[in-house]
Symmetry: C2
Subunit: 345 residues, 2 copies
């Protein structure tokens, strides 16, 4: 194993001081060109690179940013990461990814670890468990410690920091509106428990659309999925009564894809009998049959924007930095789970 080359070793080699070497490599005018040249040549030959750990310690920064996400096996989050990573690389930052696995405890642990000087700032989307516990002290403490934080997608109102969210309500409205304009009047919603903020937002968008088009809301058409149990079973009852929905809006891809599966099982065809719209950036939508009309979330843009805000805060010298909340537009990606109706606008 080749020993790492350091300033000290180079200094010894030439019988000069460490600072001379350091300055020579920085092309300082304090050093004679003769000495500079030989030192630089030597350093180049041995691939000298300043030790990052030493620089981190000295500069009190790591040029690394931490990302905490609930799940990585999730297309939306990987899209966000792609956005973060790309910009980070351009700006010379590394990305450290931590998974909370939707667990409060692990989120706290991750935050704790990252806060300890490992990263210059953090981008996070909060775990479902944390949302249900409503305990956000770990985030507050982070901010008190002066570590820049940007929340994305699943954000919490009580925390003051930069935020990036998708226009969940708007997207849900768009989807529901589309179903209505396509002629649906008995529109079901498949959603998450209310503590999942994005689910709640999307439900509100759905309700808003119903109201605007004067369709009475019907509790029986709102299915709240418990992820612990079989999704298919929970969806079955939608197709059992004598009031089968003609349109279904699902707040994520899995729910939407599953709903189509169940509909087919009950002998209904999509989109002829039931139209379905999902909410996602996911891959599945393209490959279901029929392919799934969805509300696109633009995960990459979210990631990129989140990092922009973070770097903005990191670089900011202002005593009273003004936090921003950035809304990423969502829009409909029409595929084949909805009818191709000529809309007269």
């Amino acid at each position: 194993m080749k020993q790492k080359i350091t300033l000290k070793k180079i200094a010894k080699e030439f019988g000069v001081s460490i600072s001379t070497v350091s300055k020579a490599l920085k092309d300082s005018h304090e050093i004679s060109s003769e000495v500079k040249e030989k030192i630089q040549a030597f350093a180049k030959y041995y691939h000298y690179k300043p030790n990052s750990l030493a620089l981190n310690l000295r500069n009190q920064k790591t040029k690394t940013i931490g990302v905490i996400i609930p799940e990585i096996v999730h297309h939306f989050f990987t899209k966000v990461i792609t956005g973060i990573e790309k910009l980070a690389n351009e700006k010379g930052y590394n990305v450290m990814i931590c998974l909370s696995n939707e667990s409060y405890e692990k989120e706290v642990l991750n935050l704790d670890m990252l806060a300890n000087g490992v990263v210059d700032g953090i981008i996070a989307s909060v775990a479902k468990e944390t949302e249900s516990k409503e305990d956000y002290r770990h985030f507050t403490e982070l901010i008190n410690n002066g570590i820049p934080l940007v929340m994305f997608d699943r954000v919490v109102d009580e925390i003051e920091c930069n935020k990036v969210i998708a226009d969940d309500k708007g997207g849900a409205f768009l989807a529901t509106e589309q179903l209505i304009k396509n002629g649906c009047s008995n529109i079901a919603l498949v959603t998450t428990p209310d503590y999942v903020t994005v689910g709640l937002e999307r439900k509100e968008g759905y309700l808003k659309a119903l109201k605007e088009f004067q369709i009475p809301e019907n509790i029986e058409l709102i299915v709240t999925i418990d992820d612990q149990k079989s999704i298919e079973d929970q969806l079955s009852f939608l197709f059992r009564g004598n009031n089968i929905p003609d349109g279904i809006f699902a707040v994520n891809e899995i729910y939407a894809a599953t709903v189509m599966k169940v509909a087919r099982k009950f002998g209904y065809s999509v989109p002829e009998d039931v139209e379905v719209i999902g909410f996602t950036d996911g891959l599945i939508s393209e490959f279901t049959s029929p392919s799934l009309t969805t509300v696109a979330q633009h995960g990459r843009s979210m990631g990129q924007k989140a990092l922009e805000l973070l770097l903005d805060e990191i670089d900011s010298q202002e005593a009273h930095y003004q936090y921003k909340t950035n809304l990423i537009q969502t829009d409909l990606k029409i595929r084949n789970s909805t009818k191709k109706v000529q809309l007269q606008n």
Copy 2:
């Protein structure tokens, strides 16, 4: 912004030396219990945590491992990461993820960056571009610098290091064999260019099965996909001639899902007219219709095994460490894109 609390500050508070504080917090017997108690109480109250950067520098290790993957928007890789991350957390390691985006240059950059003391070891899957260039000097240099490296999935034979690979050939054999036993005799292969090692392995498994069952191989049934062009277009010709395949084995999920889409477009139904098997751990397979029979790769196990090997090497003191190559078994996950034939074994 609350100032970070350090040993120095605690020392000042009590008018003792830094070393006393350090020792007190470590419960050293050299310090009187009286002093220890008050220092510990104080430290606890102010949430003292040793600064990671300083520890990194002093210990010459970071308790962080780097992972370089070609793509994160890819279910297989996220599974691997999940496996790595879980074990890493148990062992007190952090995970730093870098994306090469299949680019040689970015892979070199990432490696360079990680090599500089940022991580204690690296787990990598090589970029397609690197595979096609066959230039692996950046990996060699890494090893020369004494940084433990584990390659997974897309590994390179020339590099001596720990490796974890899926039994690609075996899995492909299994898939092809299944098709044959189901009665297919005109079996197509949809694969990547040969420089993608895993693609090549899978092709070999396919060929081996054909040979073993004495089915002549037919060049016309082997489609090599160029990812730059439309996948659908490249697959169309399979269904145009008068020699339509009755079985198709695709080396990944997207190809398999697309093949089904194209088959349907040409009026063939799966699995009645054509049976299809993919190779993946992906999510899509469950939601296509019919759902896709696949060769499961066990990404999580790969990730976990890769980290095990890495930690093994990191912890190893031996001058001549013996590298291992670990083969992760693959197996068939039968869904509905293949016929349910009663096999008489």
